[in-house]
Amino acid sequence: MRHKILKAINFVIKDFLIESSYGFNAVMQTLGIFFSVFTFYFLSKIIDLSQTPELIKYKEYFPYVITGIALSNYLSVATRGFSQRIRESQLTGTLESVLICGVKPGEFLIFSTLYDFLFSTLRIFVYLIITFFFSSGGFYLGQLHYSMLILSLSIIAFSSMGVLSAGFVLMFKRGDPVAIIYSALSYLFSGVYFPVSLLPKPLQFVSKILPMTHALEGLRKSLLTEINISDIMPQCLALIIFSLILWPLSVFTFSRAVKRAKFDGSLSHF
């Protein structure tokens, strides 16, 4: 177990060294957060909450939309990060060379995206810190442990789609429809920018079957309203159910894809 943890740390160090070799890339990405936050800060000033009663409990539109954008960072890393890392490693030939060095395909997949998740977590905190200072209502900081619970369950639920998508890239190399469709549906139907209740009734059903909807609802409740643990239980339960259904499916698909690639010799093809 200790060796596995050390391996994971070495993957993170390796990815940090690669990212930092690109000079200002990480700095520019972080600076980009300020632009996005201030755009929504000023936009929120023209939104009248009395027109959308669903938002009144959150007091302001600004923190509502920023929590949506912040969480969509995780969604993006979880759904696209795994397949992107697989594709990059196919292009550089490192997938095969790392596997030859005794790393299991599943380990490779998880360790390769750890850095992205850590960097995304940092970005989320930057989003929330800026919002904390610029929103009048502020956050319920005493409930941060609830937010962390929701974030952890969200990573697990979102990642299952990412692993599924990585299996697809291993088999078909490009075009990954899982990530594209899933991300598009999540951005539109899960309430990143506007409450789900504004959608027509039949479309609200679509939002219910997306983990992002429940993750966002849980995160907003824990950050923006005063609650106790029972208030976010339905969201936690939904995320657990999604994970229990999607993880076995995605692990099965990914291991089938690896096995097939090892049979047809396409592990390093791209």
Partner: protein
Amino acid sequence: MPVIELRNICKRFEIKKGRTELILHPFRKRYKEVLNDFSLSLKNSGIYSLTGPNGSGKTTLLRIISGILYPDSGEVLIDNVAFRLNPNKVFLIAESDKGFFPRLTLWQNLRFFGSLINKDRKIVNDKIEIILNDFELTKEKDTRFQELSSGTKQRLAIARAMLFDPDILLFDEITKGIDIKQQHYVYSLLKKLRKAGKTIIFATHLINEIRDLSDQIILINQGRIVSIGSFEETEKDIKRIFEIE
């Protein structure tokens, strides 16, 4: 007890269909037989050159022995035990231009791969220092992989294998594209490894490598062994297969 034993290995690859065939026969599959009931037993350590025309199955054979490619049927035994991918036993060295992180330095690359096998940072670092010296890579240790010359990349690929100290090393045309000086450097490394008791199988087309380096030559064609033995024993078949006058 054989060091490596291959029993009845069969491998075929599906031939990708063209557009017309995809429309006319969407469900028909065609295959290319690469290895056909291939059996081989290597009893002693030493240098074995694996040669044969392009497409004869050399690379496929090496990849199957390394464990990165599964055979359709048959089995690979290392020291009489069915083999599963294990870099401490068998290590494949191929395509030195790929398989490393282009933005990391030579040292950072070795450090990363070394950390995959050993959890003690100090042991890994000490081993890297020794390998850098042995392979004359110290001067380039802070150069990014993408900026290294082909010859240095080749030495680095062998150096990485030595981090794992495997019993069996498989080389796939490792002297392709490097200058004569670097080629001779690689030859001397192979001889050193032989002296250290390693088993080396290297795929090559070059007649001087086949003649001067090999203890045994394995000549294959169309997925089958044509002949196996010393250069003198196989020379006639080599000339016939490669159509050399």
